[in-house]
Symmetry: C2
């Protein structure tokens, strides 16, 4: 069995199962909406998820090191939405691992020898490494949100301090061991 | 082939490969130290990593839903050290996925039929689900660190504001639309 050929031939089926597994992770009504009509303008979130997953699917089954930057870009687009929508990391990362189950259940019975199995394991390792890349991106996107919140807090306190100082005519060097830039 | 029996019989070999793959992720000198003599008192970090991974290994190859709380506890112990030591999430989560490669390379050639393969896939799915649990725990431990930092910042600003107000005899209701509890 030529694994690559077989996956390219079943692309439509595998990809639609994969995309639907992502839409099913949304609350029932949203999931239904996302599934219905992947039109760029009437359903931009559904359209973008489907587009990013198709790009990733092609990169996964025709994997090469030179595609890494493009894979990272697609992962970033897909994960940005999930982080902002506050999905659990495990639910999000599971989509990548899930693709293996979808592939295995569609290939089952067509694995004829050790060579086929080795090729399948190589593909699964590739999917795992993309899932790990997704973990790093997910964590760094989360970290960015925390940084934004921390900066907002700093700004709020800074403005409050400015207001106090302005109102009472306090010089910003009022205290030798403390100034407003502390903690920046 | 009885997969479970085979894994229990090879436990020593598989576990030591797995533990060494974790130690190898540390800088060379630390890795060497961690590997040498897993004594509870002279090498507590190495000892604890090896202990947590053995517990996890037993839970994985004899998996049952009732063990989930214990698995979570072992993961938490293992991940706490990694988060504090500031390891990349992907490097850390990879240890769990890595166990599959170790198992596959040791079993290779002993998979005789579709049933064996289905059992192996079930085991790999179990390992994946434990890796996903690890992702959630890793992210929540990271979030805790961010919260601690945010609280420290709040305290520092709060103390600074207190100092200004004390020094200038300012009432805490100095400004109707602003007080120090804002942003808590």
């Amino acid at each position: 069995m030529d694994l690559n050929l077989s996956l390219n031939n079943s692309k439509g089926l595998l990809l639609s199962e994969w995309i639907n597994s992502v839409f099913d992770s949304y609350p029932v009504e949203s999931g239904k909406f996302l599934k219905n009509g992947k039109n760029r303008f009437s359903n931009p979130v559904g359209y973008n998820i489907a587009k990013d997953l198709e790009t990733l699917f092609d990169f996964i089954i025709n994997y090469s090191d030179s595609n890494k930057p493009k894979i990272r870009e697609s992962l970033n687009n897909f994960l940005k939405i999930r982080v902002v929508q506050d999905f659990d990391p495990s639910v999000t990362i599971n989509f990548f691992l899930n693709l293996k189950k979808i592939i295995y259940s569609n290939l089952n019975g067509h694995l004829n020898n050790t060579n086929d199995l080795d090729n399948l394991m190589d593909l699964f390792n590739t999917i795992d490494s993309i899932a790990l890349e997704a973990v790093d991106i997910f964590v760094s996107l989360k970290a960015k949100i925390y940084e934004i919140k921390a900066n907002e807090m700093k700004n709020r306190f800074g403005k409050m301090a400015d207001r106090i100082m302005k109102k009472y005519g306090i010089d910003e060097n009022f205290d030798n061991d403390t100034n407003l830039s502390e903690g920046s």
